[in-house]
Amino acid sequence: MEPTTKTETLDIEGMTCASCASFVEKSLTRTPGVQRAMVNFATEKATIEYLPAQATPATLKEAVVKAGYGVTERAPDTSAADRQAEIDQQKALAYVKLKRRFWVATVLAILIMPLSMLMLWPAMMARVNMHWLNYGLLVLTLPVLFYSGREFFTSAWNGFKHRAANMDTLIAVGTGAAFLYSLAATVVPGWFMRRGLMPEVYYDTTATIIALILLGKVLELRAKTQTSAAIKALMGLQAKTARVVRPDGQEVDVPIEQVQLGDLVVVRPGEKVATDGVIEEGTSAVDEAMLTGESLPVEKKTGDPVFGATLNKTGSFRFRVTKVGADTMLSQIVKLVEDAQGSRAPIQRLADKVSAIFVPTVVVIAILTFVLWFDLAPVEARLPLALVNFVAVLIIACPCALGLATPTAIMVSTGKGAEHGVLIRNAEALEKAHQVNTVLLDKTGTITRGEPAVTDFVPAEGQDAAQLLQVVAAVERQSEHPLAEAVVRYADAQQAPAIPATGFQAIEGKGAQASVNGQAVLIGNFRLLDEAGISLSPAVRRQADELLAQAKTVLYVAVNQQAVGLIGVADTVRETSAAAIKRLQAMGIEVVMMTGDNPQTAAQVAAQVGIKRYFAEVLPSGKAGKVKELQAEGRIVAMVGDGINDAPALAQADIGLAMGGGTDVAMEAAGITLMRSDLQGVVTATELSRQTIRTIKQNLFFAFIYNTLGIPVAAGLLYPFFGILLSPMLAAGAMALSSVSVLTNSLRLRSFSPAKN
């Protein structure tokens, strides 16, 4: 066995010319244990293959230094998963800190509250020195403000320097004002008394606001981590290692990053498929639910593609790696979902505009509230009233609810879509999908399987069906023609035993011939038999005409120069199509079909799946035109295609849905890609988009209503009529709950599951 080498890459410092590079290279090559060294002057990197038994990264560095150059220590390349792990760790740490700050604020607020209310018990009041009580409250409030609430102040100040104002600005100004007033009343009560004012303190307000806002933040952070749970789950699906077959036949577990294109990988039952590839040996059933949403395992045999992160169920197989890293299906799905989560929904536009000017506007409203109360309230109470309402306005306003309304719903729903095999390109596509009132289906590959299948097997009178099928399958097994494959599939489904055929010969454009059990067999079109001088009996001819009338392709079978049977082949309707179409119609969507077939066939398929309107004899180039035609009727059209020659139509439609993983072109043109090859995906996509938009609308409605009602009430608008004033502490409670409610509403989308028929 050849000893394994390791590869190390070093960043070289101080190389000024190409000859320096060769100098470093020489020095490295002479180091014991180094098999090969390559130094690239342009990239300033050295790639070294070495035997770990004789050399180490340290000795390699030494060799570079000996040559008179330096090695830059570089941070190890971090993968997306590592980076995510680091971010998660930071977030977890931030959450722990936040909780601690919350508890400190809460405990102190609970102490401060009853002490501030001593005046409610006059008997108690008489025994306490007001002056010292206030100092006591001040001492209790300081940690709340400067430990628990410090972040609000630093954030507000940092924002202020950037001419930016955020939620923290409002809280900092609000609690800061209440605190400063109280501080003044504590330190110089005489100044207030001289002006006929009670030196009241608002330490309880300050502490309670901070405690409640922190409570809101704790709840919010907890909910927010759940919005991206789906994508994290997707990322976590990636296999960590692969069992690679070395050229000498040895099987070795290697980290997934080291798997290369062309490697042969072994997968045993119960194991995860490491990356994308094509099966070279073996058969199995593979669970692809994580990628496609299809719950039934998919049968795989030699030549079939397999995808990384899917789960091998029954058999073991070997596959040749065709894609690694960012090119794999899983990586592309993750990328697509990430992109969608970063996109903006048009529905968000108003909320965006409002939140851009929200905080400064609220500050101005608060200032004006203060001025009005000061000017209009009775002299003896004007200052406390102005202050309390000023603080209430600042605290109740909640820009967060506006900011969270749309993106959180989009995040949850795009993740949820991926779980069900519905990949949404961006938020705009999601929004468009809910307006759709017409779905245009390209028949082939969507309603039907898009591949021929045997629909009729008609032996001539006096022939044994089972035996004839064996003979036919024996010939067709040798052929690569799609029609032949359909016949073989049919024979396999009927469990016809395989028997050998000899002397197989394909006859271009007509069919094939071979000999089975010493009999000469011909299978092909009418011309094949005609040219061989074989005539059809009137009965066979009539049956053939019948099949042709149903728009089926007819294969003629002759044994020993005698026509012995017919095979009808047609593209078949998927079992799920009719149910999915019915479901769409129940949702108030008109389903229209288009096909290149003649009107009779079109009518037949349409009737079979319950479609009332269809376009027949549509040429591939005319598909986009049909979309336009429907759009001209004022319809909002979703186009569903399998991606083969319908990219222009997908792009023309208001929203395009590419089916069956789709081709790359179709995925580009489509707003939504359906990983599963059946129309149920269209139903799922439509339902998901409707539910998401409904959630967003609820969120936005709530956020707008909350602020437009809350701010005037906090400003004291109801006071002249009903004598109602909003305590700043209640305002803080409302504010803390408002953003949490929006988030919780978005998280309800996590329970989305498509209607099953």
């Binding site: 980076r83 995510q84 680091e86 971010i87 930071q90 977030k91 931030a94 936040l98 972040e151 630093t154 954030s155 507000a156 100040w157 940092n158 924002g159 202020f160 320097k161 950037h162 001419r163 930016a164 104002a165 955020n166 939620m167 923290d168 933040k217 952070l221 990430e338 992109d339 969608a340 989560q341 970063g342 996109s343 903006r344 909320a351 965006d352 939140s355 851009a356 000017i357 905080v359 400064p360 500050v363 101005v364 200032i367 004006l368 203060f370 001025v371 000061f374 000017d375 002299v379 102005a386 820009p399 967060c400 506006l402 900011g403 969270l404 993106p407 961006n426």
Partner: protein
């Protein structure tokens, strides 16, 4: 109206005017991207209660690399959104996060924090 009322009213109005001017109309910190030899336009942005610089000028059709250094732990800035480029990125605290994009169209594209409170704009010329 007594003196106190007059003082409070005038101060209040002046403060309001200042807030409106300061947040909406005052001049912003603008920076133009520096092109490297390989043709990538690079800009360093510090994230601390906002983005500095917060107006970034780049040229159309050339790749742009934005290095966001988040100089705080405040959760407001933990997410970066560039909806026009379909970018949503977590910015780890006290770390530099690279964001690469290729602006194809001229125009002004806003980038914000996760809640749309902190704002900056990418001006593509």
């Amino acid at each position: 109206m007594d003196t106190a009322e007059i003082i409070v009213t005038l101060t209040g109005l002046a403060l309001s005017a200042f807030v409106i001017w300061y947040f909406f109309f005052s001049a912003r910190q603008t920076a133009a991207a520096v092109s490297t030899s390989s043709g990538v336009q690079e800009v360093d942005i510090t994230v601390k209660g906002g983005y500095s610089p917060d107006v970034i000028e780049v040229e159309r059709g050339k790749p742009v690399q934005l290095s966001f250094y988040r100089d705080e732990e405040n959760s407001c800035s933990e997410e970066l959104l560039m909806p026009d480029f379909s970018i949503r990125r977590d910015l780890p605290a006290f770390k530099t996060t690279l964001v690469e994009l290729l602006p194809q169209q001229a125009g002004t594209f806003t980038f914000t924090c996760g809640m749309g409170m902190l704002r900056g704009s990418l001006v593509v010329k």
